[in-house]
Symmetry: C2
Subunit: 300 residues, 2 copies
Amino acid sequence: MSAPLSMFCGLSAFPLTPADAEGRLQPDALAALIERLCAAGVDSIGLLGSTGGYPYLTREVRREAVRVAVEVAGGRAPVIVGVGALRTDAAQALARDAEAEGASGVLLAPVSYQPLTEAEVAQLVESVAGASGLPLCLYNNPRTTGFTFSEALVAQLSHLPRVAAVKMPSGVPDLPQQIARLRASCAEGFAIGYSGDAGAPEVLLSGADGWFSVIGGLLPAPALRLARLAAAGEVEAAKALSDELAPLSGLVQEFGGFRVMYAAARIKGLAVCDPPRPVLPLPAEVLPRLEAALAQAPAC
Amino acid sequence: MSAPLSMFCGLSAFPLTPADAEGRLQPDALAALIERLCAAGVDSIGLLGSTGGYPYLTREVRREAVRVAVEVAGGRAPVIVGVGALRTDAAQALARDAEAEGASGVLLAPVSYQPLTEAEVAQLVESVAGASGLPLCLYNNPRTTGFTFSEALVAQLSHLPRVAAVKMPSGVPDLPQQIARLRASCAEGFAIGYSGDAGAPEVLLSGADGWFSVIGGLLPAPALRLARLAAAGEVEAAKALSDELAPLSGLVQEFGGFRVMYAAARIKGLAVCDPPRPVLPLPAEVLPRLEAALAQAPAC
């Protein structure tokens, strides 16, 4: 029995990609965020995920971000890189760039404008998985891509070479059953992980391999503690910690992790930048709630 | 009383943007499509719309396409150019490019990855409308952008300088009522148009100013005749012509105009190219239906 690749297990922390208003990387701010994740000991870094704003950045900036992150991580945590793009050839090029810069894996969302069919997404995945030697995690993010991976499609794709994991969306009503169905139908050693900060303990307590966390990108210590408690089956302690993070995950749910994390990074002095327009910063009147939520979050 | 700008009235025909597998423009094929539209006498050309695959093309290719289209049109039909992009600054640059190449207007869809709020879309529209001196048409295309313009937002934006028209999605259950509500709330002289090939006669018979047509991008003669019949209130003749086009508009609805038009252009010998991957060509088993639908479409 092969075990899932460890880079897709445990806590994968998704940092912002600090950039200026013109989309130029702020390498020092990114380096500081990556250092923070490595120091906390996260299981992997989800660079250039949705929270990392990958579709808003040029190929050159994305490559530069991988270079910075891999260098700072220095092997302490694997760097998984989002390589989604509207065109298949662009996503392939991004996967090759990630590999050339020393990334450990890639994350692929079927970014779309024209709504895509299952056959189209299957061919996209096969094309991008074949473009580099890196293991690939499917990124099922219907909210941003407009495409929903069916469980049957995930199972089908799990048998392709290098397709090693899936990042499923949160909020599934029958989580343990879904995990069981996926385990039964996917390839052996295929890692099953979930996004979503609000339901974090449930995800790991239900037997998922990985938890992909937006909050973990900025507050890695409490997120990691939560992941460890849940993995150890410490239900009460995990839920108590999750409750302390609830005001923050509530804001993420209400305003989107993207807007909330920019404001949080600014409040904590970790990065001074705004989301790429047309996305606007978190409304000023929400900042006191965010400040309170951050103050309440345990330092661990 | 000011009348809507004529470029946003009548039939706006949306051609493909022929390009090779790497996304390089095929200028001769584009020129042939534009010539066909001008020869038929369409009221405007909707260049680089969804059917024109604008988000899949680089800024350079989009600019080149505007240059070719404006040159071929030679003033016979105004060229309205899609300038949507994920970043506000990119959309602004595209609007300036379109103006520099002699376009008559721009079409703006709020392309998104992170779902956008109304405030964000309002600021995007204002920013892009302010980037050039060209009149702007709002592009309400929830299927591709994930964002739906409320009637209230359209009305609000219609009062901004240079925001001159809206392209609404088809399939509204209460079309005449919606047009009446928009007329009552939007700025004077604001043009109200609709997409959608299946319901074409209804759109113009219901008093809309413009009809934005995918089929018109390839078969401008029957589309224009349909528009003229409907505008003249020739209900029976318009519906009869629409019925002849129904097999084609049915395929557009079933497989998406993007896939269908590439295959149709190839069958008619107008352009030999495929949609940009990951979008796949129309399945081979559907081609006989498309051939029959094209054969049935009147030449007019």
